[in-house]
């Protein structure tokens, strides 16, 4: 080591140390991600000017917004330790105002929410009414159903939307909209029974062999199942009508009973109230389920499958039950969707939708019914509320970023169930695993 080389070397080591610094690296990563996002969401090039996309995205003022967002994300990641306690304190303060947790204020609060749910749609424009019915209402049902599978029983189902498709297509079949004709044409209300049964049977058929698998395997098998159903819907043209969907529109709901005649038409509000009734009934039923023998058995399975089994809980049966209940709810939502929108196509039942429903559940808080409703409302509102700022195809990009930030600061979701947040806290402290999914098998029972 000579004296002349020392300043040179120290500068190199300094630079190395600077780059090696975790925070600097993370900043680099965030900025890179921001550039990629700017490029992906920006205008695309064309044959005549292939570099137009790069120039318009990276060399214009547009990139600044994304770089700022990147730095903000970096701040959120690096500042986690500093900010997290603040977030926790803020949520503790908010919890004091959480009227749903206190048993005395709970029922008035629910009544007020219900009144709000009855009145508010009247004040909305036609566009928003349609959003509330087609996108929020139906997805609330889906999220609440998936919540039973993922949140209550702790099973990861990535093909959940397949049951929604089965419900929609069953309804189309029994109302005579598909190329193959049913023995008798039914009112969509009656088709609910068949569709729910079909979805439940599909759930049991899929679950019976696969629920013996654990965690990752179950996710992969359900993923495959979802793909199979979509491909069938797309390619089995003689049965499903193929990519165009059923040739005849699925009829609207109608009642013709005991002198009452009513037909749901294109208007959104009648469908809204129908959905509201179903959602409230299902929420009440699932709440009862959660606090029953069945719900507790699910919690036991989620927490420690070995101990649950040793305490006499037939874990396989209860998992299958959760799967069947989730599938039927999904099928039920499918009927409502088909009847409302009339022209269904396989495009409504893609893997993306399965993941979207999962996002709703995770965002709202796994295992929490109010969370599932809130998750569906917020996440489904976002693309419509921000439609002037964000292109529709970029939505998942931002949703992904939102989830990343959520997982850093509030992994239990916005409105977590009490049991679930306890489990997460304990899993973080290394006391238990948070899921039946990751629990070790019989090998090390002591």
């Amino acid at each position: 080591m000579t004296t002349t080389a020392t300043p040179e070397k120290s500068r190199v080591t300094q630079a190395r140390a600077f780059v090696a610094d975790d925070r600097v690296r993370k900043l680099g990563g965030c900025l890179l991600a921001a550039l990629v996002v700017a490029l992906m969401t920006g205008p695309s090039g064309s044959l005549t000017s292939p570099t137009h996309g790069f120039r318009a995205s990276l060399l214009s003022g547009r990139v600044v917004v994304f770089l700022v967002l990147g730095v903000a994300l970096w701040g959120a990641i690096v500042g986690r330790d500093a900010i997290a306690p603040e977030v926790a304190r803020a949520s503790a303060v908010l919890r004091r105002f959480n009227v749903l947790r206190d048993s005395r204020s709970r029922y008035p609060a629910y009544a007020a929410l219900l009144a709000l749910a009855i009145v508010v749609p009247h004040l909305l424009s036609n566009f928003w009414q349609e959003v509330v019915v087609d996108q929020i209402g139906v997805y609330v049902l889906l999220a609440v159903g998936l919540n039973v599978v993922v949140g209550f029983a702790g099973l990861l189902d990535l093909g959940y939307i397949a049951f929604y498709a089965i419900g929609a297509y069953s309804s189309a079949y029994w109302t005579g909209s598909l190329p193959i004709k049913p023995p008798h044409h039914f009112n969509p209300f009656v088709s609910i029974i068949f569709a729910v049964l079909a979805a439940m049977v599909a759930g049991v058929i899929l679950g019976a062999p696969t629920l013996r698998l654990r965690g990752d395997y179950l996710a992969i098998v359900t993923l495959g199942f979802g793909e199979i159903i979509t491909i069938y819907a797309n390619n089995l043209t003689s049965v499903t009508g193929g990519a165009q969907g059923p040739p005849k529109p699925v009829p609207h709901f109608s009642i013709d009973l005991f002198g009452i005649h009513y037909k749901w038409r294109l208007e959104n509000l009648p469908y809204y109230y129908l959905l509201l009734v179903f959602v409230v009934v299902i929420l009440v039923m699932f709440r009862c389920l959660e606090n029953s023998r069945v719900g507790r058995a699910w919690t036991a399975i989620r927490e420690d499958e070995v101990a649950a089994e040793a305490s006499g809980v037939n874990t396989y049966k209860y998992k299958l039950m959760a799967f069947a209940i989730g599938a039927s709810t999904s099928g039920f939502a499918g009927v409502l969707f088909a009847s409302k929108i009339q022209a269904i196509t396989p495009l409504s039942f893609l893997l993306q939708q399965s993941i979207l429903v999962l996002v709703l559940v995770i965002f709202g808080g796994m295992g929490s019914l109010p969370g599932a409703v809130l998750g569906a409302a917020v996440i489904q509102w976002l693309p419509n509320g921000l439609r002037t700022y964000i292109k529709k195809e970029d939505l998942f990009l931002y949703l992904g970023a939102l989830l990343v930030v959520m997982m850093i600061y509030r992994p239990q979701g916005v409105f977590p169930s009490r049991r679930r947040s306890r489990e997460l806290a304990m899993a973080e402290a290394g006391m238990t695993t948070a899921d039946a999914m990751s629990a070790p098998t019989a090998g090390e029972i002591q």
Binding site: C288, R293, A300, A310
Partner: protein
């Protein structure tokens, strides 16, 4: 069953057994965990299984509760007023329904649930409410729920945890967690209770409470108890009979005081004395 030196092969059958383990051998690949193990437990008896670490005690428990299926031999359970049933090949929860409940060596409670809910899960495994009954809150479901609440309170009272019913299982002190696990097992209405090192990690006061609890379960509830324990004082005081395992084999059995003096047992625990005769040296 009293003579220490009695050859093990010549065990006379017990008149009224609760469980008989007959020549079971359990292997994992090339490792033999249990080798030709035979033992019988009389109904109402407190039988202790002792032995050094790795002797196969927990493997024996796992075989009796259906977690492992031994390659050879048979395990028969004799429920009161019903014909004997083979345990082997049954799922764990089915074995539990037969009337065999257990606790775990490293406590396995549902830690994010309250003590009360933990016990209720055990009790509810004997109830019948299905998802439809639960969703609609049918009258019989509510009756079962009330019945479950009542029994859970009773059981928590029985193990001395009534005051802590609403605390999270994970927040309870170690000894209380052990007792809660016993309460959860009792909730499944067993006729045979398997306790895997219930005194491990508990303090002397808790040990005394545990001793009393084991006697109570045995005497008041009429439940037979199979006990794995390292704490010799506890074993000597509660067990009516002791079986000693070493390297997957039964090396001795008999009354606690006799077993204590058995040279094979002493050797298993302390090793061979350096200048003692090879076989049967009296210490």
């Amino acid at each position: 069953m009293s003579a220490v030196a009695e050859p093990l092969a010549a065990q006379t059958p017990i008149a009224d057994p609760i469980v008989t383990v007959d020549h079971i051998t359990l292997r994992f690949g090339g490792v033999t965990s249990l080798s030709d193990v035979t033992l019988q437990q009389a109904r109402g008896e407190i039988l202790a299984v002792i032995g050094p670490n790795g002797a196969g005690k927990t493997s024996l428990f796992n075989s009796i509760t259906g977690v492992y299926t031994p390659q050879e031999g048979s395990i028969l359970f004799y429920p009161a007023g019903a014909p004997s049933t083979s345990v082997l090949g049954r799922k764990v929860h089915r074995v539990n329904k037969l009337g065999i409940a257990r606790t775990f060596q490293n406590i396995r409670l549902f830690s994010a649930l309250t003590a009360f809910e933990n016990v209720k899960i055990g009790i509810e495994s004997r109830q019948h409410t299905g998802p439809v009954g639960a969703m609609l809150r049918l009258p019989y479901m509510r009756r079962e729920e009330r019945e479950g609440d009542r029994r859970a309170t009773e059981l928590l009272d029985f193990v001395g945890l009534r005051a802590r019913a609403n605390e999270l299982a994970a927040s309870l002190p170690y000894g209380a967690q052990r007792r809660l696990e016993i309460a959860r097992a009792l909730g499944t209405q067993p006729q045979l209770l398997l306790l895997d090192e219930p005194a491990a990690g508990t303090n002397p006061v808790e040990k005394q409470e545990l001793e009393a609890l084991i006697r109570h379960i045995n005497a008041e509830m009429g439940i037979s108890i199979l006990l794995i324990e390292h704490d010799m004082r506890l074993v000597m005081s509660v067990a009516t009979r002791v079986v000693v395992l070493n390297f997957g084999k039964v090396i001795a059995e008999g009354r606690p005081t006799d077993v204590q003096r058995n040279p094979a047992v002493v050797e298993a625990y302390l090793g061979k004395p350096p200048d003692a005769p090879a076989e049967g040296g009296e210490s």
